[in-house]
Structure formats: C-alpha cells, structure tokens
Symmetry: C2
Subunit: 165 residues, 2 copies
C-alpha cells in the first residue's frame, strides 16, 4: 500500500487479495537488473515504512527534511533550503506555509536584506522534531535490518549515484 487511506479504509468491494485470472506473476528478469527500477521499488517500500512511522503526525517526507534542516541551520533562507534539497524555490513556499500555520516554524524578515526570510523552528517545532527523529530512528533500524551489508556502505553508494559522493 502506498498511502494511509489505502491501508486504513480500503473499500471492501474494491479489490480482493487475489484476482481470478492472470494471477501468474510475470517474468521481470530485465527490469530487476536495472538500477533505475530497483531504486524506484526500494524508494516505494522505504517511503511506505516512513509513512507508517511519521504519517500519524501529518508530516510529509519533505516537511521532515525541512524541519531537520532548519534545526541544524537556524535562520536559513528559503532559497538556500530549496537549493540544499535540490528543488526549485517555489516548491518551498507551501511547505513553510504549512509548518508556519501549524506553529512549527516561523519566517523572520532579514534585518540586512528585506527581501530575505530567515526560517526558524518554534519551541513546538523543535519538540515535535525530536519526537519525529525518534520515530525515524526506529524506521531506519527496521529498514536497515533488511540489508545484507551495512547501512553506511549503502549510503555511500547512493550518494555516489546522486553525484554528491
């Protein structure tokens, strides 16, 4: 399942666990040998687990990223955050909007440059982040337990793929 609703409240008459015909599985030899598809399936599974871990706090992976980034970089500008996360700047606006609306973060107009907004966590935001990090640590332990070699080796390879080794 890829989201909370699917797991929590799937319609009873929508789908049974097994289909009548075509339940033979397909030959996926080719796709299983491709890095792109393997990454996609791994991400689907890891994000599902993450959703289980922090979904009940109504925090998306992106929101979690921003919270942790601002915690370690208080006063960071929105454009700097966007650049660090590798997304375009308009993408960050609604993310901060949500965090601000929930009282987890605040925008502070820069004293030295009136265009810029420094982002800070509120006490509540910092507190929630600690809870989230604790849940996240459980999530990562769960996911890492599936690995054959160590987490650090996988992380190193993933960051190499990301071009930021």
């Amino acid at each position: 399942m890829r989201n909370a609703k699917a797991k929590a409240a799937r319609s009873d008459n929508y789908e049974s666990d097994f289909s009548e015909i075509g339940d033979e599985s397909l030959d996926m030899t080719y796709l299983r040998g491709t890095i792109g598809y393997a990454i996609r399936r791994a991400q689907m599974a890891v994000f599902d687990d993450l959703q289980d871990a922090i979904g009940k706090y109504q925090i998306s992976p992106t929101q979690f990223s921003v919270l942790s980034l601002v915690a370690d970089n208080p006063g960071a500008l929105q454009s700097t955050i966007a650049e660090a996360l590798g997304v375009e700047r308009p993408r960050i606006v609604p993310v901060i909007d949500q965090l601000e609306k929930r009282g987890l973060a605040t925008r502070v107009r820069s004293a030295t440059d009136g265009r810029a907004r420094e982002i800070y966590l509120t006490a509540e935001g910092a507190s929630l982040l600690e809870t989230l990090k604790s849940r996240f640590a459980e999530h990562q332990r769960r996911v890492a337990a599936r690995l054959n070699s160590g987490t650090d080796a996988l992380l190193a390879e993933l960051w190499r793929l990301a071009g930021d080794a």
Copy 2:
C-alpha cells in the same frame, strides 16, 4: 535539472547560477545519514540520466517498464502488469492508451475471458524497444560507473529494501 524543459529552454531571466546571498551551503549531516533521503536523491539523479538517455523518444520510465515487460510476457493482462509494477490498475490504462495510440502496443480481447485484454507489442513497438534498451544500457553503464562496488551488489541491496530480495 529534473526535466527536459529545464535543461533545454530555461528562461534567461529566471535564475542565474549563483545567488547573491545565502549561497553558503547548509549542514546536511543528519539528512545524509538517512536511507530515505539518500534513495530519493539517488533516484533523482538516476532518473535525470535516464531522461537524457530515452527522453527524446518521448518515453517515460513507466512506459519503458511496460514495453519491456510486455516484450518478455506477450499477452499479459493489464491487471497483471499493474500488479507486477506495484501500481493500481487504473494507472495502467492511460499508459497502454498512449502506447496503443503511437502504434507500439495493441490490446487484444481474450478469447477465453471477454473482460480481459491481452497486451502485445507491435513490430514497431518491439523495434523501438530494442533501440531504447541500447540507450538504456549506455545509461546504466554511465550510472554504474559512479559506484564503488559492483552493480549486482547494489541491486541485491535495493531489492532487499524493496522487500523482494
């Protein structure tokens, strides 16, 4: 850049390479230690490279997956394809629609079950797929060259993460 347009025709006055303020990079120690975020960034980079490789053929990663799957499993049903790819069945409909409209695949009503549609590649679809696979192989070589250990070891770990080791 995450898509073709961004690279090909970015507006000249939209963004320069360096911002005036806030160009210091942030402390990302925490995020860089998380599997979920590392996978996300790796996927972004790998899909960017894949886009470079097959984007000019107007084929999305999902379409490529379906083409290769149908090539190795002629006559596969839409529901079986959806299940193999881990997506809901309605998701497959527009994908097959597109492939059919371009003459790359065909729907054939099953002789034994009038509800089912068997999917086959056309000669043109099979031909294009061969071209795409050749381009894909270059893409995979390029991406794999970033790795420290071998591709097979990474694939094994990714499929373990995906819960399908």
